[in-house]
Amino acid sequence: MILNFHNLVKIKILAKKDISDIEKWFLFFRESTTKDSDILLSYRPFKIKKENLYSIDNSFYIVKNKIYAEKKDGKVFWKLLFKFLEEKNKFYVNFYCTSKKFHLLYPNFLLKELIIRLLEVYLSFKYHLLVHSAGVCKDNKGLLLVGRGGSFKTTLAMDLIRKYNFSLLGDDHVILSKKTLFCFPENLQIFSFMLNNLRTEKDWNFFNKFRFIRELIFKKNTSFNFIASASPLKGIIFIQKKNRFSYRIYEKEKSDFLERILYNNLMEDFITLTNLGMNKGFFSNLLCAYSYIYPKSKFSNYSSFFKNALRFIKGVPILFLDLPVVYNEKVVDLINDFFNTL
């Protein structure tokens, strides 16, 4: 399987298992052939000799340009061999995992998470950034919605599309390249189902999952005409959930917003996989372990690459939105008003 992300990075995945779920997740980026790939990912069992490697805490094994990690955590076992050529910016990855946990729609969930982390690091070395936030656009004006988990990013994006005819760039990630946002739609089938049937993200419960699967089986042609491919970035909204009853919209001192986007990205590694055996920041730990042995490598300061990618967006108008615990639809109108002033 080949995934081409806006010609910025190409991933080739060789798999022994069925990975049609990954194919569905990255539906938008599938490509049939490619001459050369930037990241070559092999998803099949492999063996490695550990004798001549530095070992750290019996979970990381490292030598120049090579990191091997393995972990058995409850019901999940995974191992990863990450090879890279620092000068050429090419990644070779072997990954394999077995899980006794049952994941109906996405059995290869860990692989998908790994792909996202690899993309994030790869893009940052090329001065792009895979921003962890939602993005929408209209009339060639792009808007970033930055917020931590549970801050209604997806719901707001859905409402902006339904109510004000925005197009989607991404509901969880967007690629920022200089001042342009490239779309990063993931999990499109579920997003389009939610868009058509659910009022908020929270309604994604067991009953609706059942409806979704039924729809998958009986309805063949779904069109994704709500997606836009790219748009210049014109505004950023920080969405923050606050434990109170009313919402608040304000502008404040903006000197720290680049750092906030940066920390938002770094945090993601600690949150997503807590139940799947890759908890406590597995990918950043991998890079920490490598820089523990080779402190001069560029992995030791990879967050500075994030910062570098962000420096182009200084001066973009920013708005802060404090949302109450219960979702309030009026906020969508406020965002639209802000958008119209850009």
Binding site: Y54, G150, K242, N243, E259, M267, S291, D322
Partner: protein, 336 residues
């Protein structure tokens, strides 16, 4: 009665009336102090109701404000709630903590110690993930990740006439290394055989049971007070030699410059304190310019300031620690 201190620099109290409190107090029994002063940190270990009103909610489990931190978190089957008032200041900090029953074995090491390091660093000191010994007011610190052989090496050197500073963490300030007498965590793989014979009977039993549990993939340490097993310990010493150990194949020494060593130490500590790192990132997302968010920068600055006059070596040792410790002993004897 309940006053504790780390090198008379950071004072803290431990209170509460549950089983976990008992275990935490036991962990810090060597840190008791009779100096009467207002504690910098009050640690309260019992059930509590957090005051999360009007706080920001992140990832549905963190409640954060400029001076407030509350979270609900878990590691495998251990669950805990942690509330910190006056989070970003250097004194008058109030930590409330409650855990489920499994917390009694782990909570000291994964939460309380990291936050003590955190506030110790904000007050101008710093910590190394290292073991340490000294002789004639000259100290040797062995830095390394878990499993690198820190405990084994320091205990071996203590047997050979050095005095003991610590086996896992070494506090540093005013250009001196201080002793840190937390219990030594023994597992079946790092306990030297001569020590097993010295253990009192109850520790012997505990060690045996835990060695069996380890085979069932449940790793529990037998905690032993260093005062029971180490012939002599000293309070502090100048930092003369730092040895960064990497277990590999052969014995190999090279010098390491301070800048590189600081970078290594930061990564070493980051790997060792995942929860502190996670919580500081959550806070930094909201307040990137506040002091807690600058923790790693402050740590770096303090470390560089304190280690300017030390000689630092990067030493690769054989994985077989019986072989390695002999090389290390002859290397150290040449130095001291």
């Amino acid at each position: 009665m309940n006053s504790y201190s780390i090198c008379n620099k950071l004072f803290f109290n431990i209170s509460g009336n549950c089983l976990t409190t008992y275990f935490v107090k036991k962990e810090f029994e060597n840190f008791r102090t009779s100096i009467k002063t207002k504690p910098d940190i009050k640690i309260d270990i019992q059930n509590f109701s957090p005051n999360t009103n009007r706080k920001f909610i992140l990832d549905n489990s963190f409640f954060i404000d400029k001076t407030y931190f509350y979270c609900e978190d878990r590691y495998k089957y251990i669950k805990w709630n942690l509330e910190i008032n006056n989070f970003s200041s250097e004194s008058d900090i109030h930590i409330s903590l409650s855990t489920n029953i499994l917390g009694i074995f782990f909570i000291q090491n994964i939460l309380i110690e990291p936050f003590l390091f955190f506030y110790f660093t904000l007050k101008g000191g710093c910590f190394l993930h290292a073991s340490g010994v000294c002789k004639n007011d000259k100290s040797v610190l062995f830095c390394g990740q878990g499993g690198a052989g820190k405990t084994t090496l320091s205990l071996y050197l203590c047997k050979k006439g050095f005095s003991y500073l610590g086996d896992n963490y070494i506090p540093i300030f005013n250009k001196k290394a201080y002793s840190y007498l937390s219990p030594i965590n023994f597992f079946s793989f790092n306990c030297p055989s001569y020590l097993k014979k010295v253990f009192p009977l109850n520790k012997k039993m505990e060690f045996l049971i835990k060695s069996i549990l380890r085979k069932l993939n449940l790793s529990l340490a037998t905690k032993v007070n260093p005062r029971e097993v180490v012939p002599s310990s000293s309070e502090n010493a100048r930092i003369n030699y730092i040895i960064q150990i990497y277990p590999k194949k052969n014995f190999y020494v090279e010098e390491l410059d301070l800048k590189e060593f600081v970078e290594i130490s930061i990564n070493n500590l980051k790997l060792d304190l995942p929860y502190l790192r996670k919580y500081l990132l959550e806070y930094a997302y909201l307040y990137p310019k506040e002091r807690p968010s600058l923790f790693w920068k402050i740590y770096k600055k303090n470390l560089e300031k304190n280690l300017k006059k030390s000689s630092i070596f990067r030493v690769e040792i054989p994985r077989n620690l019986l072989k390695a410790r002999k090389y290390i002993l002859s290397f150290i004897n040449k130095l001291v």
